[in-house]
């Protein structure tokens, strides 16, 4: 990633089959863009179009360009060459394997060393109150542990220049730290969110309706100030949660 990559989404059609209002949006490395909209407005479809680098071949007829050009086929499918890492809505693993075995297998599929497995577990443990270990069985992880592991996996194993995040708010993990980890250095980050803090952390957000990108909203100065205040409140809530979780009383020195 020496030079900054750009990602361009060329508008397609909405659920009624008419052209979506936003005809083109380009995102540069280092930028975090939000996607907002009510349930069923097409947020996940947009994320999935970006994940598969759609070439007019999905129901939305969108086209995704990398550095202004149509990507090669193998970049779309081969995990070793993939440009996109995705943190999806699914909160649980279904694979019948232990954490270590799974991470080693994933590292292999991405052409990375197996030694990343324990590091990934350590990183996951910085994001979630309930620690996990390489010997844990994947299917027994809690929602928060799964999310923390998926996040750490994206930061270390998938480590792609484009990161897609489909809602991390209610996951029981430190979301700002998670976002910071996921965005790495110079990555393009696209985050679907209902969460005011996450949405206002982004300088631009795409509003979705009826399956289409309806407009692009630039964050105002007021929203920016509001976001810092909300972040303070959120950090306070996280500390309070820890105090309560550890069996202490609020306001009492532990």
């Amino acid at each position: 990633m020496s030079e900054r990559m750009t990602l361009t989404i060329k508008g397609g059609i909405d659920k009624s089959g008419i052209d979506e209002p936003v005809r083109s949006i380009t995102v540069e490395g280092g930028e975090i863009v939000g996607i907002v909209g009510p349930t069923g407005s097409g947020k996940s479809t947009l994320i999935s179009d970006i994940e598969q680098l759609a070439q007019l071949d999905t129901p939305s007829h969108r086209m995704v360009l990398i550095n202004g050009e149509r990507p090669e086929w193998s970049v779309r499918t081969d995990p070793r060459r993939k440009l996109v890492a995705q943190l999806s809505q699914s909160m649980h693993f279904l694979a019948d394997m232990d954490v270590g075995e799974f991470l080693k297998m994933h590292a292999k599929s991405r052409g990375k060393p197996a030694s990343l497995a324990p590091e990934t577990v350590d990183l996951a443990n910085t994001l979630c109150g309930e620690p996990l270990s390489v010997d844990d069985h994947l299917t027994t992880l809690s929602g928060g542990q799964s999310r923390a592991l998926m996040t750490a996996d994206i930061a270390l194993i998938s480590d792609s220049p484009i990161v897609l995040i489909d809602e991390i708010e209610n996951a029981g993990i430190r979301k700002q730290e998670a976002l910071h980890l996921l965005s790495g250095e110079g990555k393009i980050v696209i985050v679907v969110t209902h969460d005011p803090i996450l949405a206002l952390l982004t300088a631009r957000r795409v509003a979705m309706s009826n399956g289409g990108m309806s407009k692009i909203i630039e964050r105002s100065e007021r929203e920016r100030t509001m976001c810092s205040r909300l972040a303070e409140v959120d950090n306070m809530l996280i500390s309070l949660r820890e105090v309560i979780r550890n069996g202490h009383m609020v306001g009492e020195q532990p």
Partner: protein, 232 residues
């Protein structure tokens, strides 16, 4: 006639993937017809008929559905020809993991569900190992990491296949599959199977219901893998 066989475990998404492909091929000017094979019962024909294409269902009843499919390939192809088709899509029952009704010249498609876990590709046998294309469905229900681990396992079991991430609900993967079908050749006379179907003539096949060993003849395999022949 192009001949595409969809095999895969029950509920893996065969009908969904087949229907998306049929639509895509129709848009490209092909005239598909469809045969669904199952054992005892199926409702797939109700869904398939919505495509407005020629559809036939055949039930194998007391036979192995894959063996049944194999005996009937000639008849299926003749029927599709009478329907003025140039593409026959065959959905199998996919119960017996030992047989795969893939012929040499068909396009062999294995439909496999990623939610069944990354050990499944190692379990399903010729259904997967002798397929040309593997359509991995239901990826929307797991994480990207899990999809990629699954793909790795598929490629371990069948290194030369085209592994495609598919979604039976949205039609994802259908364009890639359609490109392969479009390139693929036609079936010819004198077709052969890719695999030997398992050797399975035993006393039970002939209707024996008594359980004890003394009542059984033929080639018998024991739990310790010892194989013996009992009989004339």
């Amino acid at each position: 006639m192009k001949y595409v066989v969809f095999a895969g475990t029950p509920g893996s998404g065969k009908t969904s993937v087949l229907m998306s492909l049929a639509k895509t091929m129709q848009e490209r000017g092909f005239r598909p017809s469809i045969v669904k094979i199952d054992c005892l019962w199926t409702e797939d024909d109700k869904r398939l008929l919505r495509l407005g294409l020629p559809v036939r269902v055949a039930l194998s009843k007391d036979m192995c559905p894959d063996h049944f499919a194999i005996y009937n390939i000639e008849e299926m192809i003749a029927w599709a020809g009478q329907e003025d088709s140039d593409l026959l899509l065959n959905e199998t029952a996919g119960l017996c993991l030992r047989c795969a009704p893939f012929t040499e010249s068909c396009l062999a498609v294995c439909v496999i569900d990623v939610t069944s876990g990354p050990n499944t590709p190692l379990k399903v046998g010729p259904l997967l190992t002798s397929a040309d294309v593997v359509m991995m469905t239901k990826g929307d229900m797991v994480s990207q990491a899990e999809r990629e681990v699954f793909r790795e396992r598929v490629l371990e079991a069948n290194p030369t296949c085209q592994a495609i991430e598919a979604n039976g609900l949205t039609g994802k993967g259908s364009t890639e599959l359609a490109d392969i079908v479009t390139r693929w050749g036609h079936v010819t006379k004198g077709m052969r199977l890719r695999n030997n179907p398992p050797f399975s003539i035993c006393t039970l096949c002939a209707g024996e219901t008594r359980v004890e060993k003394e009542h059984h003849r033929g080639i018998l395999r024991h739990m310790d893998s010892f194989v013996e022949y009992q009989g004339e």
